[in-house]
């Protein structure tokens, strides 16, 4: 967390060419412009004196044009994401997914009415010939969260790359996407239940792409494991380990696909989750133990002749299984007329779920999409705490329908309707109107 003054300092530091010696830089730039114009005028004069024959065969070997004089070109590529929405939602209080321990994160505190949905500052550049760096800041009121800040090697070769710092894990398909790249106005239930928003970690990632026609990518990550489902544990070594593999390719000119499997192993100590106990009273629980998550993902895209400009279709689906094993403490809240007595006993859960979505661009600028979310609370064994904490047989589901309009590659307006049955005993109609704008350098999105 940073104070606004620190953010300002960080932003100023990102523009060293201006901040350090603005005047000198300006003078240097003027000089560079002047000399470049003089050179151009001379070149033009030379051409006037000796008219060029259009197909001169004896043209000298073309010289690579020099890069533009160094002005602010050494500054990182900067882009800014502006995102906001109007949400018509019920007053549902804590938005807990029935049967799942809350993961915290952005999905949990869905604001009603108008709100800023996400403001992100993205900077990236080559560090030197061996590394590139990337920073994503999520700006909130009186806070800036470092969503990602990492370096990646560019010079290892042989299909290898090493990433280090804070980054979104390569697990699954949607995980690396930030909210502005989502095809719907809100997160999938699966990712909300698993990670809050997406699984980020402080650590290292080694990735290898195989030298084959079929795309094959394998990655391993080790990190602090401080975010849900793990916690910060104040230990040396790795708190979480992730493994993933993806295959992909084309079928003809019009179809392409990618599919993969991922595994996440994380440790938690005193992981805090707020539940409702048997008496319907707020109860604080602390989980300590291991969390294992398997995920499978598949993406299929279609565009006539591979030309996505007019029409295209994208289908993606992901499935997960998570099992957690350890102990759960339900803090004593009997003073507030409720059930828990501060008992710490064994906890085991096996849960699963999936989402599947299709997005169709039926004409330039216009897309429509449908998403189905379903989670299975599976078996949750609270041990002796079963006497105080209720089990559920609600299967959280949600249907979402969206229509979006993109005046250009850089702007998008979206309307979404969701029928949300993810909370205990609720059947909610949700409406979202959302905008996503991206300013600055042209970002390139992954498949």
């Amino acid at each position: 967390m940073l104070r606004p003054a620190l953010i300002a300092a960080a932003i100023v530091a990102a523009f060293p060419a201006y901040a350090d010696s603005g005047l000198d830089a300006l003078r240097a730039e003027l000089r560079a412009m002047k000399s470049s114009y003089e050179a151009r005028i001379q070149a033009l004069e030379a051409r006037l004196e000796k008219p060029e024959s259009p197909a001169a065969p004896a043209e000298p070997l073309p010289q690579q044009t020099a890069a533009a004089p160094a002005g602010n070109h050494f500054n990182p590529d900067i882009s800014l994401i502006l995102q906001g929405r109007y949400a018509h939602l019920q007053d549902a209080g804590e938005r807990r997914i029935a049967g799942f321990l809350p993961s915290g994160g952005h999905g949990a505190d869905a604001a009603r009415g108008f709100s800023l949905d996400g403001t992100e500052l993205v900077m990236s550049a080559s560090v030197d010939p061996y590394f590139r760096g990337h920073l994503i800041l999520a700006l909130q009121d009186e806070a800036a969260e470092i969503e990602e800040a990492w370096f990646q090697t560019t010079g290892l070769g042989n299909g290898l790359s090493l990433k280090g710092g804070r980054f979104r894990s390569g697990l699954g398909y949607q995980n690396e996407q930030h909210p502005h790249a989502w095809d719907f106005a809100d997160n999938t239930l699966m990712y909300r239940a698993l990670f809050g928003e997406g699984y980020g970690n402080d650590g290292v990632q080694l990735k290898w792409v195989a030298p084959t026609d079929l795309f094959m990518e394998f990655g391993a990550e080790a990190g602090r494991g401080a975010s849900f489902p793990g916690t910060d544990r104040n230990t040396n070594g790795a708190g979480s380990v992730a493994l993933f593999g993806h295959l992909g390719g084309d079928v003809g000119a019009s179809h392409s696909w990618r599919a993969g499997v991922s595994y996440l192993h994380a440790h938690a100590r005193d992981r805090d989750s707020e539940l409702e106990d048997m008496n319907g009273v707020h109860a604080d629980t602390l989980f300590s133990g291991k969390s294992k998550t398997w995920m499978a993902d598949v993406v299929w895209k279609w565009a006539p002749n591979g030309n996505a400009r007019e029409q295209n279709f994208k289908f993606s689906a992901e499935y997960f299984r998570r099992s957690e094993r350890g102990s759960l403490l339900c803090e004593d809240n009997s003073a507030e007329d409720s059930a828990c007595t501060g008992l710490d006993d064994a906890y085991r859960s096996h849960q699963s779920g999936f989402y599947a979505q299709g997005v169709y661009q039926f004409m330039p600028r216009w897309r429509t999409g449908y998403r189905y979310d379903r989670l299975n609370p599976g078996t949750v064994d609270f041990g002796a705490n079963s006497a105080f904490l209720p089990a559920t047989d609600t299967q959280p589901t949600r249907h979402s329908l969206m229509l979006d309009y993109s005046p250009s590659e850089f702007s998008r307006l979206r309307l979404q309707y969701s029928k949300d049955k993810s909370m205990e005993g609720q059947n909610e109609n949700q409406w979202f109107v959302q905008y996503v704008h991206s300013l600055g350098s042209h970002g390139a999105h992954k498949f």
Partner: protein, 297 residues
């Protein structure tokens, strides 16, 4: 940097035994690499003439090809900015990173036209370094072929002589073809045309034809009916002889305007593979000129 080069050179012979893998971003550079590289190179074209090179998905198959490339031949000038950086980043191929001999940007070897005076996205999808559709001028093809020959010889010294000889042979045939095209194209001089996107700026500049209208209200922005109606009205005052679009572009706006103005709409191949006749670079310009001459007798 030097260490990397040493590593690169050490690593090179392993792959040089097999043909040199060339990853071409667009079909025109694949065709050119074929002319110069012949049997010494194995070429993969990332896109086809039916695809808009501005809007390509960074597909897994492209990453897999990039992984094995010894040389990447692209246009540059931000044409591939939406997808090429992802491929370079994801493939883990150290030899083809920008700035290294394995990375070749054609636009660096020609003078770009239409460099915008100001950079503002309010002006649409502008390219800061100028219009990137350089291959539509055959003089640029010649310039790039010279540079590409030198580059191939640099990264595959074992076959340098073969590249040079094929490069010279291509240049001779290309010069002869250009002389022929130039003579044939004489009637096209000063002919006015409307274009869908500024795809043919260099072609029209070479042939000294005039662009009197653009169907896209701003670069990269889809032509809308309101704007097309204004263009149609404008063509009443400054008539055009034909409407040009590239094979990959939607026919609707050009056809609508053409029928409104009573002029022909031409689907030029734009690049190699754009139609049956444009099977190679020579066929590309033969067919382009035939179509233009037919429409402006």
């Amino acid at each position: 940097m030097r260490n990397l080069l040493v590593l690169f050179v050490l690593w090179l012979p392993v792959h040089a035994q097999a043909a040199l893998n060339v990853f071409a971003c667009e079909p025109e550079w694949a065709a050119l690499a074929h002319e110069v590289g012949g049997g010494d190179v194995k070429i993969y074209s990332a896109t086809t003439a039916m695809q808009d090179p501005h809007r390509i998905e960074a597909r897994p198959s492209l990453i897999a090809q990039m992984r094995r490339a010894d040389l990447v031949v692209c246009t540059g000038a931000e044409l591939e900015i939406g997808w090429l950086p992802v491929l370079l980043r994801e493939a883990g191929n150290a030899a083809v990173q920008p700035g290294l001999p394995g990375y070749f940007e054609a636009a660096r070897f020609v003078a770009l036209l239409d460099k915008p005076a100001r950079l503002d996205r309010a002006d649409g999808d502008v390219h800061a370094s100028g219009n990137p559709h350089i291959h539509t001028d055959p003089r640029n093809i010649l310039r790039v072929s010279t540079a590409l020959t030198a580059r191939l010889a640099e990264i595959d010294p074992a076959n340098a002589a073969a590249y040079r000889s094929r490069g010279q042979d291509f240049a001779a045939r290309w010069n002869a073809a250009m002389a022929r095209w130039q003579t044939r194209a004489a009637p096209l001089k000063e002919v006015s045309v409307a274009v869908q996107h500024a795809s043919f700026l260099y072609l029209l500049n070479w042939l000294e034809m005039r662009t009197v209208a653009t169907l896209e209200p701003k670069p990269g922005v889809e032509p809308a009916l309101g704007h097309l109606a204004r263009v149609a009205a404008q063509l009443q005052v400054t008539p055009a002889r034909m409407v040009l679009r590239a094979a990959y572009q939607s026919p609707r706006p050009a056809d609508w305007l053409a029928s409104r103005a009573g002029i022909p709409a031409l689907a030029l191949p734009y690049t190699v593979g754009g139609n049956a006749r444009a099977g190679d670079l020579f066929g590309l310009f033969d067919d382009t000129l035939d179509q233009l001459l037919k429409a402006a007798p």
